[in-house]
Amino acid sequence: MRALQGGCIPASQSLPRVAACGPDPPPSFLYEDNMNRLRAIRFASTLLVTSLLAAAAAHASAPTSRSGNAASAPRSPARPLTIASPLLCADAVFANGLDNASRGVCGDGAVTVYTDRAEFLAALAPGHIENTFTDVAQGTSLPLQYADGDFNYTVFTEFFGASGGLYNGPGYISTDRVTDQIWVSTTVDDAPIGAIGGNVWPSDFQLQPTPGTIVLTVILQDGSTGATETIDSGGPDDFRGFISATTPIAFLQIEAPDLDAPPAGTTPDRWPTLDNLIIGATP
């Protein structure tokens, strides 16, 4: 073995969540679950998004969308998420009352939340699309990029700070890492998405539905939080839909927080899971 130069040698090696030190850590993909690092990245990413989105948006290239296929690696680049302008709402959390199930008002970006699929579909403008992910195979996958009708969108983990990719079930979407979120995103070059919804639930390590909580966050293209919705999920039939009155939707975040106090001998781990995604325009 080739010795490293200097640095501390701990009594034990652990992944960073436990304890670790050393001047020359292993490659980052062994450290990708370092929660401290992850949180730092997410925080930094938020700043980065809000300060650089305008420049990035200006350079957004023409989309080269493709149908998602979990079994093959895309040969085209993943398109960066771009949002039209820097953050307009100073504090979207306060703007929508923390956890308002109806609408989080930020500037002109009123978002209506639907819990009934039929009502949601009835409220959409004509021309909506639905993705049942029937072509998705079980296992890890790269970003899934779709072009359907007027809509182009990408399904993947969070754009900044993700520690892994997707880990899908047969015909539905989930994440590889328990700490990651599912993101459904689009770009400013694409047709504006005014409505988005789907079935969401927590799954366990084996991809089976399990009791838990799902948190959905809608981010609008003005950078504001359009809505935050928390579901004490009953399973794969749980539906949530969002329609933005004016400002297009930039992306939808789906998170499954770990249980705070799982029953003794059980795991707190929960993974976000998505199926039957609906995307449409504001009526």
């Binding site: 073995m1 652990s14 992944l15 690696a73 960066p80 880990y167 707190p268 781990d269 993974w271």
Partner: protein, 690 residues
């Protein structure tokens, strides 16, 4: 260019490409300007991504996981890095794990995903491909070394060379193309036995390469579920009550140059002497002829009859095999057949045909037919599988107990063995003894290929005082790879212990045998010997293609019968961490222990690969090494096994009388550099004693 100059060049290029990555992602117009500046001050460079590869290993072993180390060199005059490194195997062969060992990283913070584990093509992928700054650094000829380990699972029925195509897809940092290079490493057949058990297909399909033909009213061969000697399937054809024939034809098989043997098990129920089956062979694509006419011979399970003329079925109604030696009548249970292949087959291609012939009479029902299972072609060289490797028995005084030592021959020819006993604390059998409390059913024997001898170990505690008694069983064989084995045996005698314990617990609730007094723990270090001792309904988990990362609570595995959860011990520093693509279970902290708790049907047999994996070290740049590591396996009753594991092939199995509730895996000792090594498990088998 000397080494330091090369290092400087690499660093400059890396810094440049990192800068390009950052700028192109964040400030695209500045990136354009940056590139323009580079173009002005630097001569044009050619980004001709290419790849060389080598491996110390040259062969593969079918029917198991092959651990290969690939020494790659990523060559690019423009220092283009690699985004994706992909390993592709032939259909049916799977990439089950990838490990990064060493190399230079262009962009160490790149998000690199592991995809495709458990399929024929997998490796590392950058979701932003082409990212303009790949994780795997490249450099001008002779390239940037990147060392990777890849696990390749080769089916027991795989035939021929094994080509592995390694492809590197560049990050696209610098035109002109190509941005992709590939190379093929071909591994040759290492001579492991070729096996088919018909269990990897869904009935009624036959395995790839197998075919069936019929004539007259003969029924096609299929696989039949629930009928196998190895669960669930066997190949099967019915015996119709009319004239015809049905043939089951194997793929072409390369017979070892030194000669080979064919092994299979069969049972049959046909109209005695009028209907029956034969085995035929065709060499190098020639015509089929009876195995005996071709020069072959039966070592076990020879033809037992002759197809005679049935007065009621003459002419075109007669059995097409009339007059030939055959298997005919009834054999209700599977029994082995061993065939010494003709000398002319050595080094040639052979196909086998199981051919059933029927005449115009008989009875067609579901009970009749011919079942074939566990087909294998081996060399003529014996291969011993002996177990248990350790035996610990505790009992009352005046108890008699019979344990079993299995001596199997996984190869061909005749495995010749002898067993001697040394008493007390002997370290070898140079001074044999015959303790009054220990007797062997036999002290020597011969085992035909594909079969096993079960040698009785008779333990008699009559007249023994309370205490511990030990002996050493010394097994010698003519298998050059296993010439001698020493099996420690301990007998713990405690007067009245059988009255004190609960007899229900002593027989493990579901023990179909006898509710024997006391306990016995058989420890195995040979996977095949272990499997011979457990029932067919066992669960085996290979941990390939799982979710990865941290797991903060007990995580469930198993099948419909045997379930278990895996986590760390109470008070552990952390939970589990499944490294992406590692194909094994591990804890987050190297000093934590893995605890496997059985939660389903009572478990009396567990086994798996246990070793120490140094995922990374604070004192070395090498990653994913497997240094010799002390592994301690502890069962819930306090029984433990301590051994030095040298790698992912180290196996330990336990077969107990009473249910095993949990297993703890620990690697308590640091290596010479002070690093603690993760204790890991793979290929865990959970079931019950046969």
């Amino acid at each position: 260019m000397n080494a330091s100059a090369a290092l400087r060049a690499r660093s400059v290029a890396s810094a440049s490409s990192t800068g390009i990555f950052f700028v192109s992602r964040i400030f695209p117009f500045c990136a354009l300007l940056f590139l323009l500046c580079l173009a002005i001050v630097s001569p044009p460079v050619r980004a001709d991504m290419a790849l060389t590869a080598s491996s110390e290993q040259t062969t593969y072993a079918r029917g198991q996981t092959n651990h290969y180390v690939f020494d790659l060199n990523l060559i690019s005059q423009a220092y283009e890095g690699g985004d994706n490194v992909i390993f592709a195997a032939p259909a049916g062969v799977t990439v089950s794990a990838v490990h990064y060992l060493d190399g230079f990283h262009s962009c160490p913070d790149a998000l690199v995903l592991v995809l495709g584990m458990g399929s024929a093509e997998g490796g590392w992928y950058n979701p932003g491909y082409p990212s303009f700054c790949g994780y795997f650094g490249g450099a001008p000829d002779p390239g940037e070394p990147q060392t990777m380990a890849v696990d390749i699972d080769v089916p027991a029925a795989y035939v021929g060379d094994l080509p592995i195509v390694v492809t590197v897809q560049g990050d696209g940092c610098c035109d002109p193309p190509p941005h992709e290079g590939s190379v093929t490493l071909t591994f040759t057949d290492g001579g492991a036995p070729l096996r088919w058990d018909f269990d990897d297909v869904g009935a009624p399909a036959l395995p790839a390469g197998w075919s069936t033909t019929t004539a007259g009213v003969g029924s096609a061969w299929t696989t039949q579920a629930g009928a196998g000697d190895s669960a669930p399937n066997a190949a099967y054809t019915q015996t119709p009550a009319a004239t015809g024939e049905s043939s089951l034809i194997s793929p072409a098989i390369a017979v070892p140059a030194a000669g080979g043997e064919l092994h299979f098990t069969q049972r049959f129920d046909t109209e005695a002497t009028h209907d029956g089956g034969v085995l035929e062979i065709a060499l190098d694509g020639g015509a089929f002829e009876d195995i005996l006419d071709a020069g072959g011979s039966f070592g076990a399970g020879a033809y037992d009859s002759t197809i005679d003329a049935n007065a009621n079925c003459t002419g075109s109604d007669a059995n097409p095999l009339s007059g030939r030696s055959a298997w005919s009548g009834s054999q209700d249970a599977f029994a082995p057949v061993t065939v010494g292949l003709p000398a002319a087959a050595a080094g040639h291609s052979a196909q086998f045909r199981w051919r059933l012939g029927t005449d115009c009479a008989g009875q067609a029902d579901t009970a009749s037919g011919w079942w074939i299972d566990r087909v294998s072609v081996t060399s003529s060289v014996p291969q011993a599988a002996v177990g248990p490797a350790k035996l610990a028995v505790s009992t009352d005084s005046a108890d008699e107990r019979v344990e079993t030592l299995g001596i199997g021959n996984l190869g061909g020819g005749s495995l010749i063995y002898a067993i001697a006993i040394a008493e007390g604390g002997a370290t070898d059998c140079s001074t044999p003894s015959n303790p009054t409390w220990l007797h062997l059913g036999t002290s020597s024997g011969t085992v035909a290929g594909g079969t096993r001898d079960d040698v009785a170990i008779e333990l008699d505690s009559s007249g023994l005082a309370d205490g511990s008694y030990s002996a050493l069983l010394c097994v010698t064989t003519n298998d050059a790879a296993t010439p001698a084995l020493q099996i420690p045996l301990t007998l713990e005698v405690t007067a009245g212990s059988c009255q004190a314990v609960d007899r229900i617990f002593a027989n493990g609730f579901d023990d179909a045998s006898n509710g024997a007094c006391g306990t016995a723990l058989r420890t195995f270090d040979d996977r095949n010997a272990f499997l011979a001792r457990i029932a067919n309904d066992y669960d085996e988990d290979r941990y390939t293609g799982l979710r990865s990362g941290y797991l903060y609570g007990p995580t469930a595995f198993g099948n419909a019968t045997y379930t278990y959860s895996v986590f760390t011990q109470d008070g552990a520093a952390g939970g589990l961490y499944l490294f992406a693509g590692s194909g094994m279970l591990s804890s987050a902290s190297a000093q934590d222990q893995l605890v496997i708790t059985f939660t389903g049907a009572p478990v009396t047999a567990i086994g798996g690969n246990f070793w120490g994996q140094l995922f990374f070290s604070n004192t070395s740049v090498d990653m994913n090494t497997t240094p010799p590591t002390t592994v301690v396996l502890t069962l819930d009753d306090g029984s433990s096994e301590t051994f030095t594991a040298n790698g992912a092939d180290d196996f330990r199995g336990f077969v107990a009388m009473a249910p095993i509730h949990s297993l703890t895996i620990a690697t308590p000792d640091p290596d010479p550099d002070g690093d603690f090594v993760w204790g890991v498990v793979d290929n865990l088998i959970v079931g019950r004693a046969r």
